[in-house]
């Protein structure tokens, strides 16, 4: 298993007040994402556990794009990966952010 | 130890226990009363027919109302793997046998499992694991799945699994590991008289299911008890 952590500063906090949410399932080609509103409003941290080593640069790019797009300030995001493809990761991250905004 | 040796040790005055198609039923004089015996011998797989023979014997004992202890002796294969067994509802028949043993226990019959050979999977759950207390004789070999099969399913090399098995009782087959998880309460001493040891087990039966506590103490199931307790605590918080 490989552990990756990315920390970002956001321009604004993620709207909404949902304290936490989870989306997805750990399965082959899929992943689960746990989002918790526990950080300062301009901080976002994404921690990943993945069984597939060597994709750090891809994860970094996926997370950076997500942060730029969703501005998920205040969120600690924890990912249990089952070997998901980057597009699935992006989709789940956006799904998670939407759950938190509700 | 063979079944015959076990029975001879338990019932010096004789008994009516018989083995047919690997299915063990009968009783004998024990202490001041009767000890019912049911079980599986000879590494026999347990199918729908056998499960109902055994459950019949258990329910007969319960109906008799003597509250006599029931000894479940086990040297079985796993459940019988066949199209016919599944077609006829093997899950119901094995569960029925387990329920009969659990009913007996609730009805005042001390139930004691005694594994002296092999047992695995559904057969193990429906028999020995459905008793109040499970004892084993040295040399018993309970398992969920043998390591070569585990290697096949998990796609891990066998030698790596064998290495892991030494330090990780949670997945490896064998008596020691089943003791460590708390599934087997006690390993008997073959050097001492069997009847006395069984009598002591019956005399010291405690209410409740303490297998998770044993698993925690013995290190084979480090977190199960705590998790169960945490669920109960959170459920109680209203």
């Amino acid at each position: 298993m490989e552990s990756l952590t990315f920390r970002h500063t956001t321009k604004k906090p993620l709207p909404g007040s949902v304290p936490n949410a989870i989306t997805g399932v750990v399965a082959s080609g899929n992943l689960e994402i746990l989002l918790e509103r526990v950080l300062p409003p301009d901080a976002c941290e994404v921690a990943i556990e993945t069984p597939i080593a060597g994709y750090g640069a891809v994860w970094e790019a996926v997370v950076a794009d997500f942060v730029a797009r969703a501005q998920p300030g205040g969120l600690r995001i924890s990912i249990n990966d089952g070997g998901a493809r980057p597009d699935t990761v992006s989709l789940r991250l956006l799904q998670g952010a939407r759950l938190m905004e509700a | 130890m063979t079944l015959a040796e076990i029975l001879a040790g338990l019932f010096p005055q004789g008994h009516s226990v018989t083995v047919r198609d690997g299915l063990v039923t009968g009783a004998g004089r024990f202490a001041d009363g009767t000890l019912h015996v049911v079980g599986v011998d000879g590494d026999t797989p347990l199918g729908v027919d056998g499960a109902l023979v055994l459950s019949r014997a258990v329910l007969d004992a319960v109906r008799a109302g003597d509250k006599a202890p029931i000894l479940v002796v086990v040297d079985s294969d796993s459940q019988r793997m066949s199209r016919r067994d599944e077609l006829l509802g093997l899950n119901e028949c094995l569960a029925h046998l387990a329920k009969a043993l659990l009913l007996a226990d609730r009805s005042g019959h001390p139930t004691i499992g005694l594994i002296y050979g092999h047992s695995a999977a559904g057969a193990f759950i429906a028999t020995a694991l459905a008793t109040r207390i499970l004892a084993a004789l040295p040399g018993a070999n309970p398992s969920v799945m043998d390591l070569p099969s585990v290697a096949k399913v998990t796609k891990l090399p066998l030698d790596k699994l064998q290495e892991m098995a030494k330090s990780t009782p949670v997945f490896a087959p064998g008596l020691d590991n089943m003791v460590a998880t708390g599934a087997v309460h006690v390993v008997l001493d073959p050097g001492k008289p069997l009847d006395g040891q069984i009598r002591d087990l019956i005399a010291n039966l405690k209410p409740g299911d303490d297998r998770d506590r044993l698993g925690e103490e013995r290190g084979g199931r480090p977190v199960a008890r705590g998790i169960g307790a945490a669920v109960i605590a959170q459920a109680g918080r209203g």
Binding site: Y55, P86, D87, L91, Q95 | -
Partner: protein, 548 residues
């Protein structure tokens, strides 16, 4: 004096030798080897019917069991290398040379044998190209074909999987060749005559019914949100945009998702009757909901599909059927239809390079292409206009006299940026080039050349290559939809944004599509069982696709 009838005399001699093992035209299954050894000559060109689906498997086994001392150095000319026996004959020396089109399941072994020199390869063709050569320089001496039934005169019923049979027989029977048909059953009267008996020389009653592979069944239960998103973008950004009515679909999950979105998402967009009315397509089970919802006017098929027979019989307004009621497919005609009568081909591939060349060949597999290069190419011989064709032509025209502008076929690659096991779809260099070098192919096995591709659709967006004005734009347009692959991450971000501003690249949001709306609930059927319900119980899926 010139001998003008040598081939005819040789043919007569072969047939006479074969008659020794036949009762009239009928040969028992047990005599197949004797028959083949009597009819065949070393060095013959032989077409052993291996179609996309239907396999002359009994005859294949017979050929593989022939004595290599008697029968050797054959030149196999057949579209599909599908069965193990198709390659076994090269190991024993019975066959030496090969010209083919498609080798899906045997792709890895064929690569090995090419590398090992056991096969002398002519070329990997498209179907239509190989068929064409049957009539020019690859005419078979002997054709070994398959059908459902025949009468004792040789009148042949191919069943719904007519596929290649008429083409193979035409080339063989009318040019002094011998045609041997295996059938599941000899009957007094065939349901319909697909091949007249005077073109069939021998009929073998096979020991088991011929093998047919359900190649086109895609289980909706396995469709992902990403595939649904891509399908939504294709429908809105290409089908609706160009008004595609006449088309061909590939066989992947992406196009199957499009088929399942027509009655739901397509309906919502008000596209019914405007798109997807006329098809060159196998009878895909996933098309059933669109057919039942009245989207589809007609479908001509290359072959059939396992389990679709009853459904097709009940929908003669949609499908081409014989007087007996069953489907009549025809690969050569349908390929021609796909080439000339369709405005769009849309399908998947395994690799796309920076220019847009694509291939399904990897370093260890030579799968061949089947019909994709035909359908996925712009036919310069087309002379009839359509709105879709003309619009694409206008987009692609850079210079020249508008009065002489011609249209353009849409060739769309529908891919996810990563395939199985995180293998990237977008690459700097196709594996096909490496393979060509390794086994000494003169022509690299490219499926669709870059100059034929008009659009690439991925989950990240649509790249319209027609609008690219130079090689650099083209490369950035491709990088711009290549997602998080190395190729995608190597993009020039500023250039990509410029292309997006010009509509060369369109993201889901540019099309008014919210990626989070890509939900499986949009599928008209979410399981094979629901397809059965849509068909009113007429579709009978093969056992391996059932979960009830």
């Amino acid at each position: 004096m010139t001998e003008w009838r040598a081939e005819r005399q040789a043919r007569d001699a072969r047939i006479q030798a074969g008659r020794a093992h036949a009762d009239g035209k009928v040969v028992p299954a047990g005599s197949v080897i004797d028959l083949l050894e009597a009819v065949l000559r070393p060095g013959d060109r032989v077409c052993l019917e291996g179609d996309n689906q239907k396999q002359a498997d009994c005859l294949a086994r017979g050929l593989a069991a022939c004595d290599p001392g008697k029968i050797h150095d054959l030149h196999m000319v057949q579209s599909g290398i599908v069965l193990p026996e198709h390659l076994d004959v090269f190991e024993t020396g019975i066959a030496k040379r090969l010209d083919y089109s498609y080798s899906g399941p045997q792709g890895a072994r064929i690569a090995k044998m090419l590398y090992g020199g056991q096969i002398q390869l002519g070329a990997v063709h498209t179907y239509l190209e190989l068929f064409a050569r049957y009539f020019v320089d690859l005419t078979p001496h002997v054709a070994l074909i398959a059908g459902v039934s025949a009468d004792r005169d040789g009148n042949l019923y191919t069943g719904p999987n007519t596929e290649d049979t008429p083409t193979v027989v035409e080339a063989t029977a009318f040019k002094n060749g011998v045609v041997i048909a295996q059938v599941n059953q000899i009957v007094d009267t065939v349901p319909r005559v697909d091949i007249p008996g005077d073109r069939i020389d021998f009929v073998v009653e096979a020991d088991t019914p011929f093998y047919v592979e359900p190649l086109f069944t895609r289980d909706p239960a396995a469709m992902t949100e990403t595939q649904i998103l891509i399908a939504m973008m294709a429908i809105k950004g290409i089908y609706a945009e160009y008004g595609i009515r006449r088309l061909n679909h590939g066989i992947g999950f992406g196009t199957a998702a499009i088929e399942l979105l027509l009655p739901t998402y397509g309906e919502k967009l008000g596209l019914k009757g405007q798109i997807c009315t006329h098809w060159a397509l196998n009878p895909h089970p996933t098309l059933i909901p669109a057919i039942e919802s009245g989207w589809v006017k007609q479908v001509h098929c290359f072959g059939s599909e396992v389990g679709m027979d009853r459904y097709i019989r009940a929908r003669p307004d949609i499908f081409f059927t014989g007087a007996d009621g069953s489907l009549r497919s025809n690969r050569a005609f349908c390929q021609t239809a796909g080439l000339y009568a369709c405005d769009m081909f849309i399908g998947a591939t395994l690799q796309i390079d920076l220019m847009g060349h694509s291939s399904t060949i990897t370093q260890s597999r030579v799968a061949g292409f089947g019909g994709a290069p035909n359908m996925g190419s712009d036919p310069h011989g087309r002379r009839h206009p359509s709105d879709a064709w003309m619009k694409a032509g206008r987009e692609g025209q850079i210079v020249g006299d508008p009065a002489l502008m011609r249209g353009r076929k849409l060739v769309v690659q529908l891919v996810e940026t990563f395939g199985e096991k995180l293998v990237p779809t977008f690459v700097e260099t196709l594996d096909a080039l490496e393979l060509a070098k390794k086994i000494g192919l003169e022509l690299a096995p490219v499926m669709i050349y870059a100059d034929d591709v008009t659009h690439i659709v991925t989950e990240e967006g649509i790249a319209n290559l027609l609008l690219c004005r130079d090689a650099d734009e083209r490369e950035q347009a491709i990088r711009g939809v290549a997602g998080y692959t190395d190729v995608g991450r190597g993009r020039d971000r500023a250039k990509v944004e410029e292309l997006r501003a010009r509509g060369v690249i369109r993201r889901p949001e540019d099309l008014g599509i919210e990626p989070l709306d890509a939900d499986r609930a949009l599928l008209a059927a979410k399981s094979i069982k629901e397809l059965v319900h849509w068909s009113g119980g007429l579709y009978e899926p093969p056992a391996k696709f059932r979960n009830w």
